[in-house]
Amino acid sequence: MNYRTTVIIGAGQAGLAMSYELAARGIDHVVLERGQIANAWRQDRWDSLRLLTPNWQSRLPGGAYMGDDPDGFSSATDLAARLQGYAGEHKMPVETGIAVGSVVPGPAGYRVHTDAGALDCRNVVIATGACARPSLPALARELPRALPQFTTFDYKRASDLPKGGVLVVGGSATGLQLARELQRSGRQVILSVGEHVRAPRTYRGRDIQWWMDATGRMDDSYTAIDDIARVRRLPSFQLAGGADALDLNAVQSDGVEIVGRLAMIREGSALFSGGLRNHCALADLKLGRLLDGFDAWAEAEGIASALSPANRPSPTALVCEPRLSLRLGSGEIGSVLWATGFRPDHSFLDLPVFDRRGRLVHDGGIITGAPGLYAMGLPFMRRRKSTLIDGAGSDARDLAAHMLAQLTHAHAA
């Protein structure tokens, strides 16, 4: 039986950052990757996607951004190339084209079954990402069979969709980006929006991510957050990588029609919540508090006068009275696009590590009840930035240090 001290599953930014930190500590390991390095970035995203974070912020351990466009936003292809280069530069032990079937208890700790045989190890790092599968509401199954449905994993470009209007469900970054893209392709888009988190691309002349980083919010620890379970479920900022503002006002000016949260499919109609105004009010108020905090920080740091004036985004305005229903068979829409979020896929873990909703139970990435098992890249796993490329390094450093301490302790005993 082959043996490695540690098996990392997944060669995206999280798995590679972990490989870097393990190598720095002399921990023998292998990175197993089902496809190529940065596979999800190559395969599972749409063509127009740009990272939501500026290039300068994609700081990997031993791999700062060295390009000539630090304030630009990389495409998924560019990022994949960069990760490929990062793995090569540090001679990381990545084995591509190996799919993990299951992780089970084994004589050394765990046994990892792959399509190329089994591997025993002390530690497993799950670095398969928080966005491995589209997350669909149960009512997706209730749509008429004849109505084509797409997820963000099926969708690559507007021309993939049949002619006619599109119901886009989801008001976060993905939903707004794709609503705009589809509307601009000449299709009438109806965008269903529930609870959402509004954020401007820039504020007072600085990128939102600069603010989040400089004020220390990105480094907030999961241990300092009350009700971390709620915070981990929050939707993403409404953002696009690029100069254009992206919010409900902006997509409406492109002609997108906004409706409330999709609540039910009944008798061939989609029914939308009448609570849209409050969802918009909540997001505007929350945005106001975020920017108030930025202003207070800038004042305290003595840099407020060096920044542009504190011009606030206009409150969300609904251009027309939101409709409460849409007849799905009327021909008004030709397809539905679910932009209802992503979820991890940990189905390969044949271990008692899940809560009653099937979610991995962990304490900052250290999996509860399974010594030697670690996760990476989950929402607010150790820090607010845990899902960002910029968050992989510090989380990997913490978990690698924990792993080393456990190995040292076991050796001493």
Binding site: D227, G260, A263, M264, S273, G274, G275, L282, L285, K286
Partner: protein, 233 residues
Amino acid sequence: MTTHGATPALDRPVPNGWPARAVRSLARAIGLGIPHAHPIPEKETPMNIQNDIQADNGVNVDALLGARDAISGMPEAGLFQWRATCEWQSGTHSRSTIGGFFGLGEEQPRNASFTIDADHPEQFAAGNAGATPVEIVLSALASCLAAGVASVAQNRGIQLRKVTAHVEGDMDMAGILGVDAEVRNGFNDIRVRFEIDADASDADIAAVVAQSQKRSAVFDIITNPSNVSVSVA
């Protein structure tokens, strides 16, 4: 941080929420002490509010937060059933009686039952023995939101002095009278206008009102569809 005196106010009624006795029995049933003080959730703490303000809106926030924690650990205790029994009186006059409910895993008696009369006004050739059912719906919405405002304000350390909600619902009678099949029976539009006198900024008051909608059962019932089944015994 909200604090109460040495005697936790568990025997005070909790408006629009968890009957204090039920919360206490739940906490006892699952072996949890009800915390006397609870950290205010991060999202509910606007930056410019002093948490040491001793606000008292008559809401036992500690008990509510204790109930939240208890149900997080024992989800089935949170499954409730609310009921009303309605007796037709005469004409369009009916009287609903509201008594016990089910929750916390068992039947919960009430030491009082409540009655609500509903009727239609003289303009409908009726006896005007009570408010119309649709007005009762509007009043239920306002009551639920007002109770939410009080609870959220308490949790955020905001002292309320006066809260008034004016509710209006627009209805086209061509719907229920069957004049026009295109017109719905129910409200076309419902507006709630709050007047709130409190120790807080306009933005903080707006945030309290928004949060009360987010957590309001009646707001959800009105804004989202529900399946209703009606049978004859």
